[in-house]
């Protein structure tokens, strides 16, 4: 092997750049959160979050391929009302019941998808499937922000890819029909993710 080729290969292997082969990443659960919004009686959109999401993805920037898997713990739903007070239950408690997420029977919801559109070096769309209440339906996530680079918190010793993703579902498609249309059928999704290269 020539010195030039060796130097080139060595440079390609440096952790401070995106490699030219599939790379595996693990989602950082402390900086990755899915949010949702639904119409509330035609007056406002009310937003909530799930606190626990795990996931992985592989991405090959040169070949423009990628696959992602996300799992969300449904019991970690939080919408700003988790203390009953004098009521029989709080909103978050109600959301965990079989009226909505049925967290006891379906402790997780998951998304699996592949990048299908790219914008230069960044994925632009992920086509996949969402499994919610045990029902699986197609879901496409748009990538509205994407960035990869060395992690400034780790003096560059760790490499991160992160971004923001949006999509929307009709909850009735998954059998979650309670209170439609008072609480909207269409639910907008927003997911923020940071992931460390393995």
């Amino acid at each position: 092997m020539s010195k030039k080729l060796a130097a080139c290969l060595l440079a390609a292997a440096l952790p401070l750049s995106a490699g030219a082969a599939p790379e595996a990443y693990t989602v950082d659960p402390l900086h990755s959160f899915p949010y949702f919004e639904a119409d509330h009686f035609g007056f406002s959109w009310v937003r909530g979050r799930f606190d626990k999401m795990a996931g992985k993805f592989t991405i090959d920037t040169a070949a423009r391929t990628g696959a992602v898997e996300l799992t969300i713990q449904t019991a970690t739903i939080t919408t700003g009302d988790n203390v009953r007070g004098e009521r029989p239950r709080s909103r978050d408690e109600h959301l965990r019941t079989a009226d909505f997420f049925n967290a006891a029977e379906f402790p997780s919801m998951s998304f699996r998808g592949n990048t299908t559109k790219w914008n230069g070096d960044a994925p632009a769309a992920i086509d996949g499937q969402l499994t919610l209440l045990g029902v699986t339906r197609p879901l496409t996530l748009a990538v509205i922000h994407w960035k990869c680079g060395p992690d400034p918190r780790a003096q560059g010793k760790r490499y991160v890819c992160g971004g923001n993703f949006t999509g929307s579902i009709r909850r009735s498609d998954y059998g979650m029909k309670f209170m439609i249309p008072g609480v909207g059928d269409e639910v907008k999704l927003w997911i923020g993710i940071e992931a460390f290269r393995d």
């Binding site: 402390l30 900086h31 990755s32 959160f33 949010y35 509330h40 009686f41 035609g42 007056f43 406002s44 959109w45 009310v46 937003r47 979050r49 606190d51 939080t78 919408t79 700003g80 009302d81 909103r91 922000h145 960035k147 680079g149 992690d151 400034p152 918190r153 991160v160 890819c161 992160g162 971004g163 923001n164 008072g182 923020g192 993710i193 940071e194």
Partner: protein, 198 residues
């Protein structure tokens, strides 16, 4: 008084319509949910929420004026990270320290509208003062949604106005300078809100 005039006055007094004088509303703490978001290392957008704000607003559709005062308990902040595991503190705990919201010394942040701009019969934007960490600066809010009507959850017995609002500010203007650069200076607020007519 003629029967027609009396009927007209009775109709005007019915709770199911907006009247032509300033009306007072008390904030619904369960559906008034302020969120904030800011850039995190350029990789993703970090969001957080405050729970159960209190407050009131008045609106005079005929005179096209309004007031708003909302009080947020800063310790209610939550960003989805509240379990330490092996760490010395969670992000939410860090946010409560003097590095950020200093909740011990500044248990509340408040917004007081100083003027309301209408478009037709509906409020469209607010000018007002945000007081955060004891510092007061002007912040504008834009109404994304606004609707008044009988509350369907009470068979129309309660009258409400609700919607969504958004605005931005620089946290450094209020003295919250920790981590600016890696963590954004510009903070975007987004909230759902409701008030019940008194």
């Amino acid at each position: 008084m003629s029967k027609k005039l009396a009927a007209c006055l009775v109709a005007a007094a019915l709770p199911l319509s907006a009247s032509a004088a300033p009306e007072s509303y008390v904030i619904d703490p369960y559906h008034t949910i302020p969120y904030w978001e800011t850039d995190h290392l350029g990789f993703t957008t970090m969001r957080g929420r405050f729970d159960k704000p209190t407050g009131k607003f008045t609106i005079d559709t005929a005179a096209k004026t309004g007031t708003l005062e909302i009080v947020i308990e800063t310790k209610t902040l939550s960003t989805g990270d509240s379990e330490r595991d092996a760490r010395s503190r969670t992000r939410d705990e860090h946010l409560r320290t003097p590095d950020f919201f200093n909740v011990t010394e500044f248990p509340t942040m408040t917004y007081k509208a100083t003027s309301v701009k209408f478009v037709g019969d509906n409020p469209d934007a607010l000018e007002g003062d945000l007081t955060l960490l004891g510092v007061t600066k002007p912040v504008s809010l834009k109404l994304l949604r606004w609707r008044c009507g009988p509350d369907p959850r009470t068979q129309g017995k309660r009258y409400q106005c609700g919607g969504n609002a958004t605005g931005t500010f620089k946290r450094s203007d209020f003295g919250m300078k920790f981590g600016i650069g890696p963590i954004g200076d510009e903070v975007t607020l987004w909230m759902s809100f409701y008030g019940f007519r008194q």
